[in-house]
Amino acid sequence: MINFTRNLLSVAVGAAALGLVGMAQAADTLKIAIAGPITGPVGQYGDMQMSGARMAVEQINAKGGVNGMKLEAVLMDDVCEPKQAVAVANQVVNQDIKFVVGHLCSGSTQPASDIYEEEGVLMITPAATNPAITERGLKMVFRTIGLDSQQGPVAGDYIADRIKPKRMAVIHDKQQYGQGIAEEVKKTVEGKGVKVVMFEGVNKGQTDFSALCTKMKSENVDFVYYGGYHPELGLILRQCREQGFDARFMGPEGVGNKDISAIAGPASEGLLVTLPADFSANPANAALVKAFKDNNQDPSGPFVMPAYAAVQIIADTIKQTGSTDPEVVAEAMRKSTYQTPIGKVAFKANGDLQDFEFVVYEWHADATKTAVK
């Protein structure tokens, strides 16, 4: 019994000591969780987000940090899986981190955002574009990227006004992001009188699409919109071209990275992609672009600058309010405007950006892209 009490006492003392150390650290660092896929099939997008966010952290720290505190980026891997995202969100809460830049995939952002809202953690996603995320009246959830409901019409208008297909197919991966944007595109083109002859889902992780290609070929489809990510579209392109199905394809920013060319090879030539405007081409960002290049990082990915902006907005608001209380910061964010690498930023009451521009690009087999508008 005595032994037991003594053990308990030492544990208590130890815990108190740890707590003190923790507090001592908390006084001069401010942790920001960067949550997204580091591993898994869409890890490339995580790289964009991580490099943008870390660059912002470095540059802010180099200028003396925020109100005397240094920022610390805590990387967390959600593999783009909703289950894992919930685990990550709980980890964030347990580690007492109050600010999150992430998550990346819409399907994992949504369940994580519920936890952040409930626990009073401020979240800015630089990548998740599904409208449902900000439609639920959440106070703590923001984004520095556009919405599928903006991107869908951009793609849809381009298809209906410029391509004018006669028999179009819309394919999606049945995920929140892919299906959501596919539905937006379908709605837009049908509103403009384009005939959608096929609207079908494929399975995430599916590898054989030969039956689908044959079907599109036999339906005389002359244009395909794919809502989803590059691993599946890459294979669809490769297998359809092989079969001699040569309709043009288009996809959202989830397919626009260099891996699509690695998977599809020459079949990726001529693919149309809607992406956020290439912020790295903006002369105002020249110094920042150089900093990325000096670090051997590619600043042109669609989520690099939005992630940078997300960190910057958190830091600016903390400076401005003098408070690290996420609720105070969230409140102030709705009223402020910011000058960031993605342009002038102001938020709507629901946490969406006031405005955000998507541009249509043509993709090339060597993984480069050219704007077509």
Binding site: T39, S210, A211, T214, G234, Q243, D259
Partner: protein, 310 residues
């Protein structure tokens, strides 16, 4: 209209047979192990995944590093390397995870198999990274049939290669099992393991052989898939494993011709449901088919009614 329908149908049969061949090659590994020791080797899908990695790495090394240009040579070397290394994995898995548990209740090796499967998946993730690896197509081109301008059936060289290689290895396996001494011993094991052991046959060696043969055929499937699909990641073993296991059960688990038939039936079912229903229903149809077959023929298409092993 009916003419194009015929052509489309032919194309879907080609698609289905290609997919079915791959399923059949993997299904053999499940069925042989089950036939002899009555255990489902859940790590078999991972063995296939490892072979796809070995295949992709070997092909890339041969073509880009060593500058081997002749495609048949690349293919033969890759198959040889992949079969060799993958068989070693198959043997090791049996030795490490199943042999020490021989004679324990059936559930225990099953759990050990699931553990092995998770281990191998993570092992490859750590060694090769969790991201997709991809490779440009090595074998391109094919034949086109049908009227110019209309719907043309396309039969690629790769699809022919998959069919031919599958048939060669299946025939070799069938001959081995039906004609050779070791094959006869294998059949004896599957009838009565304990009795075969009493008659002086080293059954442990035969069980190892079964795992090696299963792994070798999975290696063939892995090489073919890395050539055909060209994109692999450490998670492909799970889906392929489930599909091949389904094929084995569909055909009658324990029966080698059954696994071949099951693979082809499953491949065709997926292809047709994708073509004439909707793509998202293809797994639903494939598994409904399995349930239906099992309802009316509980032992699968070619399985023999099982006598409970005591």
């Amino acid at each position: 209209m009916s003419e194009t329908f015929g052509l489309e149908f032919t194309q879907q049969v080609i698609n289905g047979l290609t997919l079915g061949s791959i399923y059949a090659l993997i299904a053999i590994g499940y069925t042989m192990v089950y036939g002899i020791i009555g255990m489902i080797n859940f790590a078999h899908g991972e063995i296939y995944m490892i072979s796809a990695y070995i295949g992709l790495i070997t092909i890339t090394a041969l073509t880009t590093q060593l500058g081997v240009e002749t495609i048949p040579l690349v293919l033969l070397l890759t198959l040889a390397v992949s079969i060799l290394i993958t068989s070693a994995y198959g043997w090791t898995v049996e030795r490490v995870a199943y042999r020490p548990l021989r004679g324990s209740p059936r559930l225990i090796p099953l759990i050990s198999a699931i553990g092995m499967s998770i281990f191998l998946q993570n092992y490859v993730q750590l060694g090769q990274g969790a991201r997709d690896l991809s490779m440009p197509p090595l074998i391109t081109g094919g034949w086109r049939f049908g009227a110019e301008g209309g719907f043309q059936v396309y039969l690629s060289y790769m699809q022919v290669l998959i069919a031919v290689v599958t048939v060669i290895f299946m025939t070799a396996l069938t001959l081995f099992i039906s004609r050779s001494r070791l094959g006869r011993a294998c059949r004896a094991c599957s009838q009565d393991l304990a009795m075969t052991n009493l008659l002086g046959i080293d059954t442990n060696r035969l069980i190892s052989l079964t795992f090696v043969l299963g792994a070798a055929l999975a290696a063939v499937a892995g090489v073919l898939i890395s050539l055909y699909i060209g994109k692999i990641n450490p998670f492909i073993g799970f889906e392929a494993g489930i599909k091949a296991f389904t094929a084995a059960v569909l055909g009658g688990i324990g029966s080698i011709p059954g696994a071949m038939l099951g693979g082809v039936v499953l491949g065709l079912a997926e292809s047709f449901s994708s073509a004439y229903l909707r793509t998202e229903y293809k797994d639903v149809v494939a598994f409904s088919l399995l349930v239906l077959v099992l309802l009316f023929r509980p032992t699968g298409l070619l399985g023999k009614p099982e006598i409970e092993k005591v």
